[in-house]
């Protein structure tokens, strides 16, 4: 992203030297537009006023008997007794709760779609331990029935990641959870890319008998070599860009483009990593190559280094209670998220990694709150909601656009039948950019993917 402004700055500079420019036999190459751009367009809708609800803003506040006004696809106002434009649709939300749209930072919807068969297994390019060149968006199948179920659970944005077979799995894509025929039409506009990396057992297991890495030290050597290779590449391109893109462009490499983007800070870093000691190694890796880790994913041992994660400003994107399926997940505890959260400056995220879990991230958070209570850690709803809204937005660097109910943000909003932190909570209405795209009481506002059309087994 930083390359483009640099190029424009140089171009402006050159424009003041017309003589030179006219005779230039070596003109600057034009900037290429970002490929595979988002074609998402918000659905236009009249203003909506949700009245008299308990509102969790995502910014730590709880407002009782408050209203939320959505207008032109944005949050227009939150507060008591709001005035609405004449054309606003007014919804009595008495007794109900309102939160920002839920954001899942770790989903494989579309890349491991339902039905889970070989034909839909598009999440791991398990042919090379470093596939920084692959982009998850080129695997996403928009007809995955899981998207609609996630929407019914209040999910309005989600990051689709490659799987964890590889040391570097490839680029993620952030989607708005809208039904569409193409992935581009779901792609969150102006969201940065993420990269998926993986520690520990998975790469070891997948590549142990396919040429390696077969050990954790092999894993770390693999990351280091990949970034070392990309350093030279980055330098060549940075020099070329700084020199006004004249002469022959350096050779382009998809793989190194992504890794260079990571080192430039353009691409957020998501690392699948379970053990505390391995997370610490990855932090040192990030320092060796000068990038920032945005979030550790799964991190079942994050509680062991909660203070260090907070100090490094790294979020823990975690499950409420998964454990034991691998040795590196053996030390899981039900208070993991609460302990990461409670560290000073800690950033806890509830993630799903599951087509079932993504439907009930609110319940996952409720489990954590209940477990924390057993050890006298009281977490109020207005705080916990950030685990599924503002914190993932921050880690995905879309927090200027969504993740809270602050005026001016995208009107991504969930209306719940009561407190979200309960088994019995249900998202009644889900708004994306101000448009009502899920209504539990209205079948006409419940999307159904093509795959399920005409399936007589369906209800």
């Amino acid at each position: 992203m930083s390359r483009i402004p640099l190029y424009f700055a140089l171009a402006a500079c050159l424009a003041t030297m017309p003589l030179h420019a006219k005779k230039d036999k070596n003109p600057p190459a034009p900037a290429k537009p970002a490929p595979y751009p988002s074609t998402y367009r918000a659905i236009v809708s009249a203003p909506v006023l949700l009245r008299n609800a308990t509102v969790l803003t995502g910014t730590g506040e709880r407002l009782d008997n408050a209203d939320v006004l959505m207008q032109d696809g944005k949050i227009a106002a939150v507060g008591k007794n709001l005035d609405a434009p004449a054309n606003a649709r007014s919804v009595d939300a008495t007794g109900k709760w309102i939160t920002p749209g839920i954001i899942d930072i770790h989903s494989h919807l579309g890349v491991y779609a339902s039905p889970g068969i070989a034909a839909t297994g598009d999440g791991n390019e398990a042919t090379n331990p470093v596939t920084a060149d692959v982009w998850a968006e080129h695997s996403v199948w928009p007809q995955d029935a899981g998207f609609a179920k996630a929407l019914a659970g209040g999910v309005t944005s989600l990051q689709i990641l490659p799987g964890s077979a590889n040391l570097v799995g490839g680029r993620s894509v952030i989607l708005k959870n809208v039904a569409a025929e193409t992935t581009q039409a779901m792609k969150f506009p102006n969201a940065p890319y993420g990269i998926k990396m993986a520690c520990g057992e998975n790469p070891k297991r997948v590549y142990g008998e396919k040429g390696g890495p077969s050990t954790r030290m092999g894993n770390v050597a693999g990351y280091r070599q990949a970034f070392m290779d990309a350093q030279g590449y980055r330098r060549q391109w940075d020099d070329y860009n700084a020199g006004g893109r004249r002469g022959d462009a350096p050779e382009q490499s998809l793989k190194n483009d992504t890794l260079a983007g990571v080192m430039r800070g353009d691409i957020t870093v998501n690392i699948h990593c379970y053990r505390a000691d391995e997370m610490a190694q990855m932090i040192d890796l990030s320092k060796e190559f000068g990038f920032r880790i945005s979030s550790f994913h799964h991190g079942v041992e994050a509680y062991k280094i909660a203070d260090q994660l907070a100090r490094e400003d790294i979020c823990g994107a975690l499950w409420a209670d998964w454990w034991g399926f691998k040795l590196e997940a053996y030390d899981g505890i039900e208070e993991n998220i609460a302990l990461v959260d409670r560290a000073k400056g800690g950033c806890a995220i509830v993630h799903s990694d599951s087509s079932e879990g993504i439907q009930r991230l609110n319940q996952e958070a409720a489990k954590v709150m209940a477990a924390a209570k057993r050890v006298d850690i009281d977490i109020p709803p207005e705080h916990a909601i950030a685990w599924l809204t503002a914190n993932p937005a921050k880690a995905m660097r879309i927090d200027a656009m969504t993740g809270s109910l602050s005026p001016g943000k995208m009107a991504d909003v969930v209306l719940w039948n009561g407190t979200p932190f309960s088994t019995f909570a249900k998202a009644e209405q889900v708004y994306i950019d101000g448009a009502l795209l899920y209504d539990r009481g209205n079948k006409a506002l419940q999307p159904k993917v093509d795959f399920l059309i005409g399936q007589e087994a369906q209800p």
Partner: protein, 417 residues
């Protein structure tokens, strides 16, 4: 704070060695029986057995009193069909014992038709999974085995550290999950089952090809009267299972049963219980295109006995069965049926209801006290009694938690006990 004190109270009680007497006063007793829920009720336990349930019970001598302060009390919960004690770490082969994986030649038939395989022989009651399940309020489970078409036997196990199954349960696996090992066709699965039952019942001398002699004995005699737990999802396959059950005269319960709601009336008429994962609402395979979150509610409304199990992370997250039941309630199942689905209904379907599954006089006193609605994830187990014995809600997980919560004492955490 209140909850914490309660737990401590129970811990103190646990130090009274082997005390199996207790009078639990002032609980909201969810009996999971025809009596439903009783407010301000007491439960008297003597010798590990429930002796009385009702208001204002007298306190016999030498019976300690526990004041529940109005909190909900339920029977110990069913942890689903799991590999608890049969699997420590899912991806570590050396810690997994639930499924038979004999290499017996190319056909693999003998491997797949081993009804004599008894997974409970590998049960390890010291597995960390037991205590984790107990912390979640689970007190019994059905050990499963699912490696093949005629997978063998599991058993019903109380999670009290004993290793004797209350009874054994034979398994049959239909559909996707055993297709690769049974002729690559659902039709082959039913063909093989039919032939195996026939061979077990009336072997033709010299033509015994499918089963071992032990297998014939087990299938033809020992387990024939037990209820077979049949993993099956697709409506058409369920129909064939019902035909098989009728033709072979065996009793079955359906497990998975994603499309069972389509046959709800038939299942009710034929008294066939189902074990379902109420959170399976996606077309996860071509066997489950009709999966819906309403499955439990539709079945129950038709009169089918509905029990719950965790179809995905069955062992390590057995505790999730409670959330699964709660979600079925959120999707329209009556609350009492939701509770029954993780207490009395599975006990009955598994044939252990004479001893466990409800708070009724004469039953084993496996009881759990809750901080709130036991079907809501916002609640946690606050106390547990196994056969009347107060059982600390401590697991490897709570101990790790406490180690990392403890204040720094200048030494590495490894010195914190």
């Amino acid at each position: 704070m209140k909850r914490h004190l309660l737990t401590i109270g129970l811990l103190a009680m646990a130090s009274v060695a082997d005390a199996q007497n207790v009078l639990i006063k002032n609980a909201t007793v969810h009996t999971a029986s025809a009596k439903g829920s009783l407010n301000n009720a007491d439960v008297l336990v003597q010798g590990g057995i429930i002796r009385a349930v009702g208001p204002n019970l007298a306190n016999p001598a030498n019976v300690p009193v526990f004041d529940a302060r109005g909190l909900p009390l339920t029977p110990g919960l069913f942890g689903g069909i799991s590999d608890i004690g049969l699997e420590e770490i899912s991806q570590e082969e050396t810690t997994r014992d639930a499924n038979l994986d004999l290499k017996t030649g190319e056909s693999g038939l003998i491997e797949n038709l081993r009804p004599e395989f008894d997974a409970t022989l590998a049960y390890n009651p010291r597995s960390t999974l037991l205590a984790v399940a107990r912390v979640g309020g689970m007190t019994y489970t059905a050990l499963g085995t699912s490696g093949a078409l005629l997978a063998g036997q599991g058993g019903v196990m109380r999670l009290d550290g004993g290793d004797e199954p209350m009874r054994r349960t034979p398994y049959i696996i239909i559909g996707n999950n055993s297709l690769g090992q049974s002729g690559a066709s659902r039709a082959a699965q039913f063909m093989l089952l039919e032939q195996a039952f026939k061979e077990a019942r009336a072997p033709t001398p010299g033509d015994e090809r499918l089963l071992t002699s032990a297998g014939r004995r087990v299938l033809g005699q020992e387990i024939l009267s037990d209820r077979f737990l049949v993993y099956v999802n697709r409506e058409a396959d369920i129909r064939q299972v019902l035909k098989l059950a009728a033709s072979q005269g065996i009793r079955v319960a359906l497990v998975g049963a994603a499309e069972a709601w389509r046959l709800a009336d038939t299942l009710a008429t034929r008294n066939i219980p189902v074990f379902i994962d109420a959170m399976d609402n996606l077309p996860a395979s071509f066997d489950q295109l009709g999966a819906t979150g309403n499955n439990a509610a539709l079945l129950q409304r038709a009169g089918v006995s509905v029990s719950f199990f965790n179809g995905n992370d069955a062992s390590h997250n057995a505790r999730k069965v409670r959330q699964i039941a709660g979600n079925a309630v959120a999707e329209g199942l009556p609350w009492q049926a939701g509770l029954a689905g993780i207490t009395s209904a599975p006990a009955k379907a598994l044939g252990v209801d004479a001893r466990i599954g409800s708070i009724e006089v004469g039953k084993t006193a496996d009881l759990v006290l809750w901080t709130g609605d036991p079907l809501d994830v916002a609640s946690t187990a606050a106390g547990m009694w196994l056969a009347g014995k107060a059982t600390p809600l401590v697991s490897r997980q709570t101990l790790l938690r406490d180690r990392y919560l403890a204040p720094d004492n200048g030494l590495p955490r490894a010195y914190r006990q």
